[in-house]
Symmetry: C2
Subunit: 438 residues, 2 copies
Amino acid sequence: MTTRITRIAVHDLRFPTSKSLAGSDAMNAAPDYSATYVVLHTDSPDDLQGHGLTFTIGRGNEICVKAAESLSGLVKGLTLEEITADMGAFWRRLTAGDSQLRWLGPEKGVIHLATAAIVNAVWDLWAKSAGKPVWKLLVDMTPEELVRCLDFSYVTDVLTPEEAIALLRKQSPGKARREAEMLDQGFPGYTTAPGWLGYSEEKMRRLAREAVAAGWSHVKQKVGADLEEDMRRARILREEIGWERSLMMDANQVWDVDQAIEAMRRLAVFEPMWIEEPTSPDDILGHARIRERISPIGVATGEHCHNRVMFKQMFQARAFDFCQLDAARLGGLNEVLIVLLMAAKFGVPVCPHGGGVGLCEYTQHISLFDYIAVAGSLENRVLEYVDHLHEHFIDPVIIRHGRYMPPSLPGYSAEMKRDTLSRYQYPDGPVWSDIEAG
Amino acid sequence: MTTRITRIAVHDLRFPTSKSLAGSDAMNAAPDYSATYVVLHTDSPDDLQGHGLTFTIGRGNEICVKAAESLSGLVKGLTLEEITADMGAFWRRLTAGDSQLRWLGPEKGVIHLATAAIVNAVWDLWAKSAGKPVWKLLVDMTPEELVRCLDFSYVTDVLTPEEAIALLRKQSPGKARREAEMLDQGFPGYTTAPGWLGYSEEKMRRLAREAVAAGWSHVKQKVGADLEEDMRRARILREEIGWERSLMMDANQVWDVDQAIEAMRRLAVFEPMWIEEPTSPDDILGHARIRERISPIGVATGEHCHNRVMFKQMFQARAFDFCQLDAARLGGLNEVLIVLLMAAKFGVPVCPHGGGVGLCEYTQHISLFDYIAVAGSLENRVLEYVDHLHEHFIDPVIIRHGRYMPPSLPGYSAEMKRDTLSRYQYPDGPVWSDIEAG
């Protein structure tokens, strides 16, 4: 009895978030949170489907949609069983098997974003077929089974399959205890709600108070548009959250290396736990230099770090203190898992990026698995939480007192409601035709 | 009197090169050399147009076309005069001005390839309007005028506008002499003609003899599919070209770091001048390690190095001996110029990538300008020449005795014949409908 992928539908979904300035930062003034959304239809008698997405911020989502359509020929007609028998080979086939498509990256930009949507949909399908949430599917694998899902090309100089198995084995003894702990207490999160640019002082104070009341111990602020303004807003946030809670800052890539160092020397008085994306996401050596110069403020980056080769070098160069991988910027869960393993080897905590539609739904699985089976520690781990658009998901994240509670429904949690798929379809869905009509 | 860009047409052009195995290497077994081809139409009374392209190898070219169409909204309606008054600002507007599109890179992959096609078309338009070939337009600029064309964001820690001006001024005295030298003797090239994978021994020997007879002093061989086979083919080539000529090798990214070191230790007996793309193009630190371990064989890479930030780190990490920038993988000529300036500062010779349709037409301008105004030296500089598809261009490259002769027609030389634009249009042009029909 096999499950064959018979048809792949790709949706262009966009949410008009630019109207509220939620999601506004120094680089991205007015994003419309969007998804290239893939549905794998199958021949299963109970209509099993795999849903997956990649995140963009509006214009250009149509290019990712086109790329996902071009890639889908590599997946259509395969059975779930042949994919999961050697998921590493499947991933390699998708990223390197068609050298003409590979040329467009390789493994970066639009083609890799589109790869993520498809790969994540395959994991959703697998987990649903297994009747488990993805984090649990992963936790229940043996080290050998897990490593078989991975493609180690270009990283064997720092991590071999044998080392990966050894890392996983080392954490095996505590897995059951940590799983029980997570089910009971959840995974610690942090919120960006009060920290977006473009909010009035009154709104910032209100949201900061609400965050404290809701139990958040970590709050993040956007910086980088104007340094005096950043200082003023940091002062407000410190007044509201106090000094016993942690304040993080996020510059969204607006600075050059020396500018970042200067800005953070002034912002240091507010004792930020980290500065996120201080400069170009490609600048491994630049991040290493910034880190050296602004210690003890940590350096965090990764949401735009496009593949395992870039992360490998971030680790090798000791370029960051917090690894903020993205569930859909990397080529889906397989590549995320490689990065988790390298992070464990180098002792760098992983705090995945959550600012986007569907990303929190994904990252909870990643951080749960990381804690239970790979890192085995919560030290310096906090999982970003962004509070909008969760209402569109069938199985949205559940936050209790600032912690993510483990999802229990089968799948990878990013399946959207049928109504959302039609209403937010761009450009023809009613939400957009209404905007068009003014 | 202004020239306004009134309409932007984007063509999907593909050439069925996979039939001949010309262009076949260890990573790219059967490429169909393709171009996302942009035409900027203007309101000029004499029908001035700007033509520009980016190179892909077949499937997926439709995604680049889509991206170029999405970007063209940022260019339509501008005048050539407002663009050239501050070309640095124009470039920044195209790469960072629309943050929603920027998200898809930033500055990498499909969106950056599409940027290159548009930017290169603007340079073609500018040069045609000025009545000069692009290399001469650049050579005739003052250092200040040239630097105004550039966006230094993310590289100011290694190169400021002031340093760039100083670098250019240093070479000013010899410019006229070097220009005359180039017009007389041309720029030295090398050929890959005998070295593609998939050729019989007889064909290799014949092409190698032809190369020697045609005056080529440097010949490149593809490697990486099978080491014994690479050894056998290198032996054949050395037999034909002798030891007084240079042999280069190109692995097209197929090896991991340690594999590359091992393979090159064996291939060292053939005394290759360089190994090109030994591993992932993103692996700056990996290239540095390979370079350290296989000296005196040089390391060459850059055709997939996606932006100035990556090149900056290649220079900082002393990761390569030859900088093989690509005229259309970087975001067009503006970003190429920044890399030329950094290369001059770090003393790394630039040998641009030519393996693709239209790339030789572009790179001759780059290397001529580099020699005349930036580097001022020919030492270790050779410009790749690939011998197919030139018949499609209005102003194809002219090779004399293994050297590129400077183009004299106004523009950037990548304008294709009208007949080619219709015949090779994918999928509807007659060349493709004939193939479709079998």
